[in-house]
């Protein structure tokens, strides 16, 4: 197991280097990049002494954009290996500092969402499978399909219209209520933030339960029709135990793989939801950085996501082996 993990980690490192190279190239060749915009801005300022082209040359040198893709990438890689990701152009701070200021807001959002996702989707999936083609199955199917198909921005707009504009239960955007937040006690401040998290959590939960519910249902149906379930019934095992011990333990195998893989996505932030609700999480920061072409921060964020994905895959494989005695890693 240890040997396997080390091997996988080494492979992952190599994959990561290539992935980052592709991302760097894309960022570098993007038209209207940060430096070009900055040069235009400086050249059109009143009292500008240099033309846009001169500014561009100047700035390219300052920002290290004059080295070409290959050399530029390796310069970035060399400092990245030393955990120096440079300063964000947009935020004028070290990338790691921006990251540590914002990551926990995203993490909290995703943890709460995942909790609700699991406690809603899995029981719903099991219930639907037990009543296949019954009313509750069709209801769950339609509901989950609607959830999967719903674009998040549309759902957010509806939720805002109903709960923020009409009912006035929540604020439209923001993390805190700026009028009263500073006057509240520590616990009051926490509750204030929690209140602003309600709509974002509802949004992401609704969008994500559909997939997990369908997945649980399909797997449960497959397991329920298998021979060993019939054996369990023939032994006289009560139906509840058949479902929740014999069948669920087998359904859990693919679910663990999926959920294990998505454990790391707890840190990845939710770009659209955070942006639309004005949550100052990592997703919002990365969105705003990408819009202005902030290469250091985007590189840092995408590297973080890539590492999470690779680790998530490894974790899923390890969990798969732990859950299913038939799987042995070598």
């Amino acid at each position: 197991m240890l040997k396997y993990s080390i091997k996988r980690l080494l492979y992952s490192a190599i994959i990561l280097i290539f992935v980052m190279f592709i991302i760097y190239t894309l960022m570098y060749v993007m038209p209207g990049n940060y430096v070009q915009q900055k040069a235009m801005e400086l050249a059109t300022k009143p009292g500008a002494t240099k033309s846009a082209d001169e500014w561009l040359e100047d700035l390219n040198r300052q920002y290290g954009m004059d080295q070409g893709i290959i050399k530029g990438y390796f310069t970035w890689l060399r400092s990245a290996v030393h955990l120096d990701f440079g300063d964000s152009w947009k935020w004028n701070k070290a990338c790691t500092q921006v990251f540590s200021e914002r990551i926990w807001y995203s993490f909290a959002l995703n943890v709460v969402t995942m909790f609700f996702e699991i406690i809603i989707a899995i029981p719903l999936g099991i219930h639907a499978a037990r009543n296949q083609y019954g009313f509750s199955d069709y209801f769950a199917t339609v509901f989950s399909m609607a959830c999967i198909s719903m674009p998040s921005f549309f759902l957010i707009t509806i939720l805002k219209l109903v709960f923020a504009v009409k009912l006035k239960w929540f604020d439209l955007t923001g993390m805190v209520d700026p009028r009263i937040h500073d006057s509240l006690s520590k616990f009051g401040q926490f509750l204030d933030i929690a209140k602003h998290y309600v709509l974002p959590v509802i949004t992401i939960t609704i969008i994500s339960i559909g997939g997990l519910m369908r997945y649980t249902r399909t797997n449960m149906l497959e397991v329920l029709s298998s021979d060993y379930i019939r054996t369990a019934r023939a032994k006289g095992v009560p139906e509840r135990k058949v479902i929740y011990s014999h069948a669920f333990r087998n359904t859990l195998i693919p679910l663990i793989t999926i959920l294990g893989g998505s454990l790391v996505s707890l840190f990845s932030g939710a770009i659209i939801t955070e942006q639309l609700f004005g949550l100052t999480g990592i997703g919002q920061a990365s969105y705003q950085s990408m819009v202005v072409g902030d290469i250091p921060f985007t590189m840092f964020y995408l590297m973080f996501i890539s590492i999470l994905t690779l680790l998530g895959n490894l974790l899923a494989d390890l969990l798969y082996a732990a859950a299913d005695p038939r799987v042995r890693l070598a």
Partner: protein, 414 residues
């Protein structure tokens, strides 16, 4: 007297009606399909409700055995499947007994209702589509009373399964839960039916069972997962699970089909020995006549959802009476006898959705007579132990009764 005359009349009528009454059943229009779905929904709901009602009152499912020396009596049992193409009468009015401490072989070709019979006895049918709609299955409880399995509620069934009746399945490779250790799977059935036993006692019993079924490395196997064992070993584990609570009846549903011939012989020997050790009966379901000949005391031959002949092994193998049984006997290879090609019975089984109203075997039968176009033949006793459903013995034998079918449309209205 008049019964026989009447029969002649109906046979003439049926013969003329058979031609025009023939319709295509392979194609179903959207309208028919909707009608069938609606009907199925109604009838299964009604049957489920009836079952629930009957399950509330123990009096409705306690009965008496006809003969206290039987473990199980099937009495005109009907099991139907309400499928999307119509009602499939998988088992339609079968009657036979399983006497104590004996082996009853149930033979017949694929799809004749052998497995459905055993699943009905365990109440393991895929409900709500599969339903036992009529007749009785009486299970001897050993204290003078009997239970009618057809109406027994699920909670009561759970006490019976594995304890009074247990089942060994056809496919040992998939019959064990892949994520639990062997020990746990054998322990489970013992714990369930003997809640008073301590953990150590349960484990000791499991070890005893593993030894009984001939597992050499029982300590090791106890800790193993099913995928670490071979097919023969797994079937032994299944047998250990089935026998762990010393049930009165073991249903073996083609227990050796998935195994190679040497293992097959070992498993059958094992079953036979263990049966005698714990004084239980075996209901051996198979389509392998050789296996039946070697194991069974009594043989029941099924065809298209009905019992067509039953008797002792000697009756069936040496004096087969029904043309179908005779055909079966001719179709099995015999060592030392040289033939160019084995006999095969012409034609095929009728469509189970739309069974004819005359003998199901008539169209394939080389010996049919004028009676055969009349209604389905009754059970006819031709010796003390030998019963056959064939009109060739109508004049000579003692007529016992016709198989009772269930009118599902009437069930809904009545």
């Amino acid at each position: 007297m008049s019964e026989k005359e009447e029969l002649k009349k109906t046979s003439a009528k049926a013969a003329s009606g058979a031609k025009e009454g023939k319709k295509k059943t392979s194609y179903i229009s959207a309208k028919d399909s909707r009608r069938i779905t609606k009907f199925n929904r109604k009838i299964t709901k009604k049957l489920e409700n009836d079952r629930e009602e009957a399950g509330k009152d123990p009096a409705s499912y306690t009965t008496k055995m006809r003969d206290p020396n039987n473990v199980v009596e099937f009495d005109n049992m009907c099991t139907y499947f309400f499928s999307d193409v119509g009602t499939v009468k998988a088992v339609d009015g079968i009657s036979f007994d399983v006497p104590k401490c004996s082996t009853v072989g149930v033979v017949g070709e694929s799809g004749c209702g052998k497995s459905v019979t055993s699943l009905s006895l365990m109440q393991l049918l895929q409900r709500p589509a599969g339903q036992t709609v009529g007749g009785e299955i009486r299970l001897n409880m050993g204290d003078g009373t009997a239970l009618n399995i057809v109406n027994t509620p699920v909670e009561k069934m759970q006490e019976l399964r594995g304890n009074y009746i247990s089942m060994i399945f056809q496919e040992p490779m998939t019959a064990l839960n892949p994520v639990f250790r062997i020990g746990r799977q054998v322990n489970e059935v013992i714990e369930l039916h003997n809640p008073e036993m301590t953990e150590e006692e349960v484990k000791a019993r499991t070890m005893e069972m593993l030894e009984l079924v001939g597992i050499a490395n029982k300590e090791g196997v106890y800790e193993m997962y099913p995928h670490e064992l071979s097919g023969g070993m797994r079937q032994r584990i299944c047998i250990a699970i089935a026998l762990a609570c010393r049930p009165g009846l073991i249903i073996a549903d083609e227990p050796t089909t998935a195994l190679d011939v040497t293992i097959q012989a070992q498993i059958l020997d094992l079953l036979q020995n263990l049966k005698d050790k714990i004084n239980s009966s075996i209901m051996l379901i198979t389509h392998d006549l050789g296996v039946v000949a070697g194991m069974a005391d009594y043989v029941v031959v099924m065809y298209a959802g009905r019992v067509i002949e039953k008797g002792t092994a000697d009756d069936i193998f040496h004096h087969p009476a029904h043309p179908y049984t005779i055909g079966l006997m001719k179709s099995k290879p015999v060592v030392g006898k040289k033939v160019d090609a084995l006999y095969n019975i012409p034609g095929s089984v009728p469509n189970p959705v739309d069974m004819p109203n005359y003998c199901y075997f008539r169209d394939r039968c080389e010996m049919h007579c004028e009676h055969c176009s009349g209604k389905y033949p009754p059970e006819i006793r031709i010796s003390d132990t030998h019963v056959v459903s064939c009109y060739r013995f109508f004049e000579t034998g003692e007529v016992l009764g016709y198989p009772k079918t269930v009118d599902v449309e009437g069930l809904l209205n009545g």
